[in-house]
């Protein structure tokens, strides 16, 4: 079992029994998220990506662990830092990157942008850019699954800063009293935007220390360990599917860059950054897989394939047309239009 209470030692690979085949899928997913985000960053710097963007570099293991463990018909609710969670559900790279570039071949034809990635056909039920909003909304999807008796589970990702907004508390209470099939995943990267989370939070563990208030177990997981995240995901998804109600996970992690495109992250002490870079999930996981029998050629092969995927996505996104101005007036209403009068 990957989940642990807050005073336990970090979960080690040794106590998590994840088959190699699954681990290779986790590795591939982490590589996809890393290389995609690096390319998105580069395209930002080239002025191709407009607006803002929030990258998950360093935090890939969380989205990957859930992405690999979830059933295709489960629901994902992500935040404005949602590229990784979207890709981890199998959404192709080209429409995601094209959306960042504001092209017509974007996931939402350029109407949403980086912060609102959505692909209903992949169960990605939206990326939400107002802190906390999607927790109650994810409850609604979980309630619907419960009502319809489909065994689907909603997984709702959010940051540590979200634990201090009212919607977090409303949603947790609501999910528990209705015994909803939902997993709340707090990605605690130690900073709410530019401020250390412990400067603005009454408790040490922003999610786990609040869990008890709602009758939930305080689960803290190493968010830089794909195996631990996969195991925690499997456990909590199974619980939800079995009708045992919601779970709240606090995944400890670190973003390698700043909060958003405009932020170099200079407010973080050098030694802290160095410590976390030394715990970069990708090289750590690669070493672990080599230790347990994966070959370097096999892993290099995955790297090369993913690199090619990213290259192709970048070309296809760049080649996408600017959306036509007629799209401005579409899709306000279900009839496809925007008329408000006769």
């Amino acid at each position: 079992m990957a989940a642990r209470t807050r005073d336990d030692a970090p979960v080690s690979a040794g106590v998590v029994d994840v088959p190699l085949r699954t681990r290779l899928a986790l590795y591939r997913c982490c590589v996809e998220l890393r290389l995609f985000e690096q390319r998105a960053y580069r395209m930002f710097m080239e002025g191709l990506v407009k607006g803002t963007s929030h990258l998950s570099i360093g935090q890939e293991a969380i989205a990957a662990g859930f992405g690999v463990a979830m059933r295709p018909d489960d629901y994902t609710f992500a935040t404005y830092r949602g590229h990784a969670h979207t890709l981890a559900r199998g959404v192709p790279m080209t429409p995601v990157l094209a959306e960042l570039l504001g092209r017509e071949n974007g996931l939402m034809k350029g109407k949403g942008g980086s912060m609102h990635l959505t692909s209903v056909e992949h169960g990605v039920m939206g990326s939400y850019a107002i802190i906390g909003a999607h927790l109650p909304i994810a409850n609604g999807a979980a309630w619907s699954a419960q009502y319809r008796g489909t065994d689907q589970v909603a997984v709702c990702f959010f940051g540590d800063g979200t634990t201090n907004i009212g919607a977090f508390h409303e949603a947790l209470n609501f999910a528990v009293i209705w015994r909803l099939p939902i997993v709340f995943v707090c990605e605690n990267n130690l900073y709410m935007e530019y401020t250390p989370i412990h400067h603005v939070t009454a408790v040490e563990h922003p999610a786990a220390d609040r869990a008890g208030a709602y009758g939930l177990d305080p689960l803290i997981v190493d968010g830089n360990d794909p195996d631990a995240m996969y195991a925690a995901a499997s456990l909590t998804l199974a619980r939800a599917r079995a009708g045992e109600g919601p779970s709240l996970i606090e995944a400890k992690t670190y973003r390698h860059g700043g909060h958003s495109r405009a932020d170099p992250g200079k407010y973080r002490p050098d030694d802290e950054v160095q410590n976390w870079l030394a715990r970069d999930p990708l090289p750590m996981y690669r070493d672990r897989l080599l230790d347990i029998g994966a070959t370097a050629a096999e892993l290099d092969g995955i790297d090369t394939e993913v690199e090619a995927l990213v290259n192709r996505a970048a070309e296809e996104a760049r080649a996408g047309a600017e959306p036509g101005a007629d799209l401005v007036m579409t899709d306000v209403w279900a009839d496809g239009g925007s008329a408000w009068r006769n």
Partner: protein, 325 residues
């Protein structure tokens, strides 16, 4: 044909739709066991059971979030926000999430949900439980806004709202809850975006909404005694807006008055009058006049609240002074 109160019509309308469609569910504070604080949902728990009629905590964001998440995954929830003033504590979910998500996702998602709320003054509840917030609602692209003025319209417009594929804010005028009116037997389904002429008259058009509609009719009856014949148009639906009926009636009479319970600034009548000014200006025989609650928070005392919200007397005197200066 039966005489039904506005509040009884709410339960009948919800029951009509819940019987027809398993995906219709009702949630809100005190809506199940208690039958609603305004007794608008009496009997529904008994009729449809606790899976479909569900009490919630005092968590307005959780209520609207649940409705939104359920709607995007195939259900047709009806959520109650007890007092429309409380939209202020869940405005993000309604204004930022429900209203915009279809557009932002290029039509990937649908939100066939209805949010009901008790709206408006007349009950002496003071400034935080008496507001008319229809103008907040219509300011947000992506929300449909409906305000019935009698029992028949409650059922018909509620049915139309439930069956509509888009989010509809359904504002119930609290002052009308005890008012009885005739309701035909059998299923009633109305059409969103249609105004109703409540009373014909050739001299002026009064545009009214919700609880202002019966007051406008009362005022028009009074004005008729002094020889001023007014048409009263019940707007019923602010979004979509039946501009055709409005403009036709205004053009025909040449004079227009709005009667609005919302506070003056950016009230619904401001938009309607601007449309009239742009499109039928040359049919007007005089300037449009708006009769509204002043731009104030509502006071609680009987005398003060009555002085603030447009009354039949104020409508009569304003129209008389304007028509016969």
């Amino acid at each position: 044909m039966a005489q039904l109160t506005y509040r009884e019509a709410i339960a009948r309308g919800i029951a009509q739709e819940m019987r027809r469609d398993e995906s219709v569910v009702l949630i809100g504070e005190d809506v199940a066991a208690a039958g609603g604080v305004f007794k608008g949902t009496v009997g529904l728990l008994e009729a449809f059971g606790p899976k479909r009629v569900r009490d919630t905590p005092i968590s307005e964001q959780a209520i609207l979030g649940a409705a939104m998440g359920a709607a995007m995954t195939g259900m047709r929830p009806i959520a109650e926000i007890m007092f429309s003033d409380f939209f202020a504590v869940c405005w993000d979910i309604l204004a930022n999430q429900v209203a915009k998500s279809r557009y932002m996702t290029a039509g990937q998602m649908s939100f066939p949900l209805v949010v009901r709320a008790g709206n408006g003054g007349g009950l002496r509840f003071g400034a935080q439980h008496s507001q008319s917030v229809e103008n907040w609602m219509m300011a947000i692209p992506g929300l449909k806004v409906v305000v019935p003025s009698d029992a028949r319209d409650v059922i018909g417009l509620l049915a139309a709202a439930v069956r509509d594929p888009d989010p509809v804010v359904f504002l119930e005028q609290k002052a009308l809850y005890p008012v009885r009116s005739e309701v035909p037997d059998g299923e009633i389904v109305d059409t969103l975006g249609t105004a109703t002429v409540r009373r014909p008259g050739g001299d002026a058009t009064i545009l009214a909404l919700g609880n202002m509609t019966p007051r406008a009719v009362e005022a028009a009856d009074e004005l008729a005694r002094s020889g001023i014949e007014c048409t009263v148009v019940d707007i019923r639906s602010l979004v979509p807006l039946d501009t055709r009926t409005i403009l036709d009636e205004v053009s025909r009479t040449g004079r227009v008055f709005t009667v609005e319970e919302n506070p003056r600034l950016c009230g619904w009548g401001a938009e309607v009058v601007s449309i009239i000014g742009e499109e039928v200006f040359w049919d007007l025989d005089g300037p449009p006049v708006r009769i509204t609650t002043p731009h104030i928070p509502l006071p609680a005392a009987d005398a003060l609240e009555d002085a603030a919200i447009p009354s039949a007397e104020r409508i009569v005197s304003t129209i008389e002074k304007t028509m016969n200066p």
